[in-house]
């Protein structure tokens, strides 16, 4: 009977109920839209940044993160990486040599980052071959290198000319080699464009005398949401002999930037809910104050106070659920449409994004957790708004309330 009573009570003030539920629905729609776009952008940024440089996960020697030394290496053989190769979440598994060297040509030299990669896998994963602006792409057994455009300009090098790489190899050995430039790459980000040299993995291993060892295994999970589980599996398997680093560890600046941006987004979301919360609070308070006489009669005729509180809780929950259902009904089709038909950016912004290797779109993430979060926030807001009206009801003086309720609490 309490549920029936609560449901019917809700429609005593139809307009108020609909307005309150609509305010909740609108807040949920806007918040969800904002959060899905925000999280969609983060996901796209993380994926793109990972593909451009670090990967989502790297396996490294435990000391490498600190030392960045060519002495702290991992095995590069199939046996070592067998677990990762067969892990169901992992889409790409690639060995890399990543070190520093002095690049010189004529009377010019510059400190550069040398990347030894598996050319085929790297082309698939990061689209490295698409960044070629002249020359041709690497083959696995090439004795030639690819050089970034900015670096080539700095050293005054052209296609087919030679560059000297000089540095420290494995266990103090000298790393030195003279390589012909097979292709020139263009990277939109200056810090990459001015310092990258790509070698086939085998050539890089020869340069640094690492034999079959590598500085890192770069891994990529099928979905970002699978990352945590994958990292945990890898950590459990490799133990302390291998440092399993995720993108947050590998790109702390980006992780922090996303964290701050997400925090400001959440702040805005809670601000919006806060404003709607006042409307909800007013409704719930009115719902209690205007019916004190009625509640007093119910108490007088034998309804326990706890059941009265329950009645109000049920009525409030109905309003909350109405708002949630309405909000989800509105937002789900919109977000689904945006997920499959993201807003396309045009003009200079689109061009800039394309150059940086990003799709010129505003991506949307459809994640059940985002929906669930909104539901929890609305229910939490409801619970918060209920505290005071419930307290008033709990403290309601029966005699005063029977007289009309003006001084009932």
């Amino acid at each position: 009977m309490l549920v029936t009573l609560a449901w019917r009570n809700l429609w005593r003030q139809k307009r108020r109920t609909i307005l309150t539920a609509s305010a909740l629905a609108l807040a949920l729609l806007l918040s969800l839209l904002m959060r899905c776009v925000q999280e969609g952008s983060y996901t796209a940024n993380i994926e793109n940044a990972a593909r451009l440089s670090t990967g989502l996960i790297q396996l490294q020697h435990p000391e490498f993160a600190e030392s960045q030394s060519i002495d702290d290496l991992l095995p590069g053989d199939d046996k070592f990486i067998e677990f990762a190769n067969h892990h169901h979440n992992l889409q790409y598994v690639m060995p890399r040599i990543e070190s520093f060297a002095l690049a010189a040509a004529g009377d010019k030299s510059k400190g550069v980052m040398v990347l030894g990669v598996d050319p085929d896998k790297e082309a698939q994963y990061s689209g490295l071959s698409d960044k070629l602006i002249s020359g041709s792409y690497l083959q696995a057994d090439d004795q030639q290198v690819l050089i970034a455009e900015g670096l080539a300009d700095h050293l005054g090098l052209k296609l087919g000319e030679q560059v000297i790489l000089y540095g420290q190899g494995y266990r103090g050995q000298t790393a030195a080699g003279l390589y012909t430039i097979k292709g020139i790459l263009h990277f939109p980000m200056p810090q990459l464009n001015n310092q990258l040299i790509y070698l086939p993995l085998q050539l890089a291993q020869e340069l640094y005398s690492t034999d079959s060892l590598v500085t890192a295994w770069v891994l990529h999970s099928e979905e970002l949401s699978l990352l945590e589980e994958t990292v945990n599996d890898l950590k459990a398997f490799y133990g302390e002999k291998v440092n399993v680093r995720d993108w947050q560890d590998l790109s702390p600046d980006m992780a922090q930037q996303i964290l701050i941006d997400r925090a400001s987004g959440l702040f805005l979301m809670y601000l919006l809910y806060g404003i709607v919360g006042f409307a909800l609070f007013a409704t719930l308070l009115m719902m209690v104050l205007e019916r004190q006489r009625e509640f007093a009669v119910m108490l007088a005729t034998g309804l326990l106070r706890i059941k009265l509180l329950k009645l109000i809780a049920i009525e409030s929950t109905f309003i909350g659920l109405l708002g949630i259902c309405l909000g989800l009904l509105l937002s789900f089709p919109i977000l689904t449409w945006l997920f499959f038909n993201p807003i396309q950016l045009t003009g200079d912004t689109a061009q800039l994004m394309l150059e940086m290797g990003y799709d010129p779109i505003i991506p949307v993430l459809l994640d059940p957790w985002l929906f669930l979060h909104q539901v929890v926030v609305v229910l939490g807001l409801l619970a918060l708004c209920l505290i005071y009206p419930m307290w008033r009801l709990y403290r309601m003086d029966l005699v005063s309330a029977l007289k009309g309720g003006a001084h009932a609490a």
Partner: protein, 237 residues
């Protein structure tokens, strides 16, 4: 079952220089089956007395014993349960739940007692038929006249089979015809089922039907007389 009131006091503004004695050292005994009217001018303390008899209000001092059980000493939860099972209330403004039908309003109080749905439905229907509302079972209060609403209130008060029914000026908002019909119903229920009715009223139509009239003034009982029954009406359906 008897209500025995001993030295009952209710004082408002007790800590001020002008305390108001709504009920002042009252001793009273009401036996099962009585049809009592408590009369007096506005502000004489009638409603306060009824509220204390029904366990709604607490006295400043004194006892309200129902079968030697002082209901004042009960915890709120127990007092509500006691009220639910033993005392029915009829209010001046009917105070029906506006979203429930006549039948549901009556069923509601029985459900609070834990009766089954079928039991509630059966007794509520019987009571509403008894008070002449057979054709209005499924109407919400807004669709009923004042007299009809008060009849639903009577049925509601009687639904849990209470020992006492407290009626606070039940006819104040009713016209002469409705008042007469309502009093007929209550009188007949009093005679047939032995339910004790205690009215607070200054309506001469009610006082004229009472078997006992207690006169109240400034919180004190100034008269208490048994009246010979002159009329027992028939319930008009």
């Amino acid at each position: 079952m008897t209500i025995k009131i001993t030295q009952l006091c209710k004082t408002y503004n007790q800590d001020t220089d002008f305390p108001v004695h709504a009920v002042d050292h009252l001793d009273l005994e009401i036996a099962q089956g009585e049809f009592v009217a408590v009369m007096g001018p506005s502000g004489s303390g009638k409603t306060t007395l009824l509220n204390m008899l029904g366990g709604i209000d607490s006295p400043t001092s004194g006892k309200v014993c129902i079968d030697d059980k002082n209901i004042i000493e009960l915890q709120e939860k127990d007092r509500i349960a006691y009220r639910r099972d033993n005392i029915g209330f009829i209010f001046q403004d009917y105070s029906l739940l506006p979203v429930l039908t006549a039948l549901e309003n009556v069923e509601f109080v029985m459900q609070l007692q834990g009766h089954s749905e079928a039991e509630c439905r059966q007794r509520a229907t019987d009571l509403l038929i008894k008070v002449g509302l057979a054709d209005h079972l499924h109407k919400v209060p807004a669709k009923l006249s004042g007299g009809q609403q008060q009849r639903v209130a009577v049925a509601r008060a009687l639904a849990p089979s209470p020992k006492f029914v407290m009626a606070d000026e039940p006819t104040a908002n009713l016209d002469a015809k409705s008042t007469a019909e309502l009093l007929d119903i209550m009188q007949q229920l009093n005679e047939q089922e032995g339910t004790t009715f205690i009215f607070s009223t200054h309506d001469p139509r009610v006082i004229g039907r009472a078997k006992r009239v207690i006169v109240f003034e400034d919180g004190k009982k100034t008269d208490d007389k048994q009246i010979e029954q002159k009329h027992s009406g028939e319930i008009k359906q």
